[in-house]
Symmetry: C2
Subunit: 394 residues, 2 copies
């Protein structure tokens, strides 16, 4: 998949700008506050039907305007083209996404059609943040790969929501007797366990496969000194080990824990057991010692872990996606080089030519020289962004 | 105040290392994960009696060891010297801080004796995070300046805690009648209002004074194109304007709001009104338009705002501290240059010589050339950190 061009109208600090992109490498440079990241954000809105920065639409409308439009043409591996347009009107508080000029009825049906991997400064929360941050990240990757997982996840989320609403309602009003409440919760628990096991099985399988990608990318950046380990920690099974997945065992543990926690769920008015509370733990072996990345890694080690993670996500999606025709994902690299030492910067730059289409932002044009050693002249275009306009194309 | 030397024993990745520092500029460089930030963390533990990274002591003990020691000698503006030592034993789970070989009874009595300002990557949460993040940051600065404020803050925090404990206890046990509960809460509200007004008055005065420092530093980095505005937003007074502070008006509003929210406080079992819920809002004027930094600033604009903020804190402390003998604060700059464009990097570097003693970490030795243009040869020492040891001193 490649993005051939992009049009921005009243989007953030862009009044009316268009870009023709290189199918391989796009080097986007400029001083602080001129709109480099806004360009990447617009691309993510076309691919995900929302911003990777979680901006609300109203925050994306140019100052003094009332609506914006972002549109672009994508070409897939069968060489057919798709024009995607994202429009928002603040007056009507309405957004619409169209593909080849047909407005989509359900936005979620489009999710995964244009595979995209993003590396941005906010991703530091993947290693430093909450279990929910890591869970969401991997849920997006598995969903991009498999619409089945995406549907299972939506279904599971719906069940948790219904169960929560029942428990919260009862907590506030005390309207059910104990036996009545059990009768009402039981069917939700059955559904929750059935749907939950599908998620656990998929996440466990994903983690095993993904670990191999992670090993290779980490090694390519820092050599033998470090080794990264991603451990999937299902909420229902503390001692879980990926190597020994067993559906009957998982189901037993799930049923036992959900029974054990039932009194506490009633008291707290919410669902406390299941894969909506899963975690992934990141560990590193360094000089023979094992340490928790979240607590003990330096800023540069955090960044290295995340860069390896994003490159692995890219390759994983490329190899595993269920819809072959889409081809390779697009990769957005916002401020890739910050926090990394020279050796790591160079090793990462050497990895870039194996990727399909890349968009990289930076304030430092010095990196252009480094990149030119890795790409042919016609494989690299550069864009100088000044206050929401493109000054010169290389 | 200058730090003359530092000794680290079994602290993080340092086995047994000592450093003799330059009284002006210390350039600390090395590859990712070698221990540059650990060095700054050790300095912050001597000055604050805790880590600026909020590490727990047990996380600071070298792998395989059971205790650490960090010690250093500081020289104040009267040229007298203080030796501070911070020791922790994991086996006994005990920490102690000694000054000139006398163990401190209360650690908090020492807070503010060694004024320190820190800029670190985690500070991005000042502009992007919660009101609590900003409140804590300014509370530290005002406390470093004034022990009176520090005591008022501790007193206020104690009152809120007592009131919370009373309300929570009642929520869980319903042990008081309505009239009895009011009788019990009333005296806490009186204390809370008296103590709270002191905080509000001090915070309002601080914001007015601090704005001027912020204007100058921001202008020195980016020129006329931008203007920063820091607005203090007391919880009890939405439309508060620093220019019109009036104690009687504030007291009336405080009393009215605390009465208005009483039923909700009882229902939620916690104190919902007062300066423990204050906010500071950061705004920028850019090209004539005003925008909220938290929502609309680019990554580079966030960083610029924070750099100007930290330089302003430094100068504010230097000019306003109530204990003249301490002299100027120490400034720690962890990864100062990331995210900034070339022009901003240069302008910030030009500001560094006006500071007293600075410790700067970086992976990029290229900045050393830039710095050498601003400092005399004997004003600048460099330290190459490799795996917890110092390789060469310049």
């Amino acid at each position: 998949m490649t993005l051939e061009n992009l049009l921005l109208v009243n989007f953030k600090n862009y009044k009316d700008s268009s870009f023709n992109f290189n199918s391989r490498f796009n080097f986007i440079y400029g001083d602080n506050g001129n709109g480099k990241t806004n360009l990447l954000e617009a691309i993510s809105m076309l691919c995900y039907t929302k911003s990777f920065l979680q901006s609300s639409e109203i925050e994306c409308v140019k100052y003094g305007e009332s609506e914006f439009e972002v549109s672009g043409s994508f070409r897939n591996s069968l060489n057919s083209s798709q024009k995607v347009a994202y429009r928002y009107s603040a007056d009507e508080n309405r957004k619409s996404v169209s593909v080849n000029n047909e407005v989509l009825g359900r936005l979620s049906s489009f999710f995964g059609e244009l595979p995209l991997v993003v590396l941005a400064p906010g991703d530091l929360k993947l290693t430093q943040g909450t279990p929910g941050d890591r869970r969401r990240n991997f849920d997006i990757i598995i969903s991009l790969m498999s619409h089945l997982y995406f549907d299972d996840l939506k279904n599971y989320t719906r069940i948790v929501k219904q169960k929560n609403s029942l428990l919260r309602d009862n907590l506030l009003t005390k309207k059910y007797s104990n036996s009545k409440l059990i009768d009402l919760v039981e069917p939700w628990n059955t559904e929750l366990i059935d749907a939950g096991i599908k998620l656990i099985q998929r996440r466990a399988g994903f983690t095993t496969e993904f670990q191999e990608y992670m090993n290779i990318n980490f090694h390519d950046i820092v050599g033998d000194r470090y080794q990264p380990i991603i451990s999937y920690k299902p909420d229902i099974y503390e001692g879980f080990n990926n190597g020994t997945f067993d559906v009957i065992n998982i189901r037993n543990r799930f049923e036992n824990k959900i029974t054990e926690f039932y009194p506490l769920e009633v008291k707290r008015g919410m669902s406390l057991v299941g894969p909506h509370r899963d975690n992934y733990v990141f560990t590193m072996l360094k000089n023979g010692n094992s340490f928790d990345v979240r607590t003990f890694a330096s800023q540069g080690e955090h960044k290295t872990f995340i860069v390896a993670l994003k490159f692995s996500e890219y390759e994983y999606l490329k190899n595993k996606t269920e819809s072959e025709y889409k081809g390779e994902p697009i990769l957005l690299l916002d401020d890739l080089y910050s926090e990394l030492d020279r050796s790591r910067k160079e090793k990462i730059t050497n990895l870039l030519p194996k990727l399909n289409q890349v968009f990289l932002t930076t304030t430092d044009t010095g990196y252009l020289e480094l990149l030119k050693q890795n790409f042919k002249e016609d494989e690299l275009s550069s864009f100088n962004i000044i206050n929401g306009t493109q000054k010169a194309a290389g």
